[in-house]
Structures are given as structure tokens and as C-alpha cells.
Symmetry: C5
Subunit: 95 residues, 5 copies
């Protein structure tokens, strides 16, 4: 799974029916030091994430396993809001 | 899912039968500031997108979930036309 | 799906049985201006493509949908031979 | 599969239910000479790996095959702890 | 599918049970001129490949189609040993 930060929301009036009601959030990938990377993409929020929160994102067909309707054409889902980490050589941190 | 802009159409007289009738659009990826990135690919249009429109693209096996015939050899589908966005630190925008 | 040009064929006497009879073509990816990119890979030809032809390639598990035997370990398939395109700001072209 | 080194753990109090009880480890990819690469991601530990260990990681839908609950939205799993290798032109090594 | 060269073997005493008995080979990707690229990964050998041989590798869920036990958490498999190629503008070659 990828670590990213939520940087926005997008809306599409004309979209696939099965995407109706899903929150489409723009996520930017983070490196290990929490710096933003260039890579960004859209993920369906499954855990009530907000803009600015550090999140865990599942991509590919596995993303659909986080959805109520697993027949939706979704390839990225926010599956966790990160609030604690322990990294090699650093004191455990909490967001 | 990826954010891109539709930049063209391609046609293939000789192609897999199950691709018949599908609109094959050339999409170029956009970054968060709506700049075109080098990466381009072909996606099946599922929502009536036109050239120049900013679109939401699902890739991988999940793309087939947007198709009437999910047995088609398709790995990218346009599933939304983006018309509104709200980005961290910027006023919400509409296309 | 990706746009590429067929640049060769490869053969493997010792290979997975279910690959027998499949034409393994070497494809090089093209950018929007039809320039060759560094990325190359092997795809199973499903439409009778020849060396030098511009082709449409499906990758991932969706590629198997183009095969007679969908149980073959194949992750890329040539599913169309491109013969016409219309790009933003350019007159429609035919190959 | 990818070769990486475990560099940390992350926790998410708010997360997908089916991720409960799974150990989420931060992994950094290694090159052939065991140098750390920039790419890092989160994988579910399935073999009792610890921080600093060199591990084998399966990604994509295949990662779910390593889980007790294959319906979890997981796209990366640690499936082995590497303890021996033999590389072209070098004496076999054990970790 | 990718073209690569086998550059080594890895072993993991502690690993997923369903990986037992599978030969884990380290593969480095090759470009069209047979030069080694930086990208390396581990693939399960399904055709008796040896170190130094040029091989065909299937990745993603399609890789599992080459395995006896398709429930194994495997995302890359060696499915052919390349012994002949014909490239645009070059005389056909045999390894």
C-alpha cells in the first residue's frame, strides 16, 4: 500500500453510475520523511479522511475490496488514516 | 484513478472483436496544477468525453467494471468528466 | 491501453506449454508524436500485426481476455493495429 | 516479487475493518547490491519480519493470496525473509 | 511480458508455505540491445532457467497461471528461455 497526504477533492457530474455517492479525494504520495512526491492520483475515501491527513492507500483490483459495491470501476481506495509510526533509528511518532 | 486530459482519438480497423463499437481516446496525464505530463495512453470512453475535457481514468482490471462487456481486453477506461475541484490552500474551482 | 510499434519477434524453445503457438512480438512504446520511448516489452499478437506496424497493447490481467486460452500466463497482448488518429490541434491522419 | 528492507511500522486507528490485526510494515526497496532505493511502500507482514530484515514482497492482487482473509484490501505482502543468496560472479552469501 | 537475464538465486527459510519448493531467481531487466537495466526483481522459475540465461517473465496476477498451485502469492514467473530473435533492421539471431 502507498502512504500519501490528502490534498483535495474532485467532483464529476457526468460519471459512471456506480461511482455515485463515493468521495473522490486527490492524494499526493509522500516519501519516508513525509515530503510530498510529484505523483498524485485520485482515491475513493473509505474511512472518512480529510484534507491534510496522512493516509494509507490500496491500489489495483485490491482497492475494490474496500468498497460496498465491489463492481465499481475503482483502482485506488483510502483504507486507513495514519496516526502513529515507528521508523528505524527514530523515536516512535504520533500524528 | 488518474486525472488526465483527452487529446485525441485513435481507430483500428483490424482489432479484437470485443473492442468493436468502443470509443478509443488518447489521454495525457495531468499534474495537480493541470500541467500535461509526458505519460499518455489510450482509454475507452464510458461517459461521452470530448477532446480537451479533463477526465477521471480507471486502469487495470478495474477498468473492465465500467464496460458493458466485461470480457473485453481493456485496461483503461474514462469513468468521469471532472467539473469541480477543491485543492488544499486554493478556492474551490469549477471547469 | 498503450500505443507502441512492433520492432521484432522472439522465440523460446523451452517455454510454458500454454504459450505454444502464440506469436511473441517485441514492442517499443511510442509517445504522442510517434517517437520511440525507451520502454520495450513482449506482447502476444492477437490481430496479425507485422514488424513496423503501430499497435494498441492491453497489459495486465485484461490482456488474457484477448486470448483463446485465458489460462495462459500472458500479461500483454496486441489487440489492434492503429490506422487512423485525430489529435488535438492536428488534421486527422491515416497510417 | 520485490526485494526490500523493513524500515518501520505504521498504525492507523481509523482503518478498514478487515485490516484489523494485520501488521503494517514500511518497506524500502533494495537494489542488487543491497543499496536502498527511493521507493518505499507499506506491506502486510505474513512471516514475522522485523525492522532491518531483508524481505521478499509480493504486490498486486497476488498479495492477497498470502492473507488469511483474502477479501482484505491489501496490495503488498511480505512473504519471505531472505537469508541466503547466490549472485552471478559472487560467492554465495548468507545473511 | 518482460525480457530479462537471470543473475542469481535467493532463498528464504522463513516464508509463505505455498512458496515451498519454488525456485526464486533474481532477474535483471534488459533493453532491446541486451544491456542490463537498473530494474531487478525476483521471479519463480517455471522452465528450468539457469543463471546467465535470457528469459521471458510474466508479471502480475497472470504470473500465477504458470504455477502448479495458482493460490501462491506470486507476482512474477519465468515462462520462457529466449533462444532466437528477429529485430527490425537486424539479421535474425540465435542465443
Amino acid at each position: 500500500m502507498l502512504i500519501g497526504i490528502v490534498v483535495g477533492n474532485v467532483w464529476a457530474t457526468r460519471k459512471e453510475d456506480s461511482l455515485n455517492g463515493l468521495k473522490l479525494m486527490v492524494v499526493q504520495r509522500l516519501d519516508l520523511a513525509h515530503n510530498k512526491l510529484a505523483e498524485s492520483f485520485v482515491a475513493v475515501d473509505c474511512v472518512g479522511a480529510g484534507i491534510g491527513e496522512r493516509v494509507l492507500i490500496t491500489t489495483g483490483s485490491s482497492a475494490r475490496k474496500a468498497l460496498y459495491n465491489q463492481e465499481s470501476p475503482v483502482d485506488a481506495a483510502i483504507v486507513g488514516i495514519l496516526d502513529q509510526e515507528e521508523m528505524m533509528g527514530k523515536k516512535p511518532e504520533s500524528d
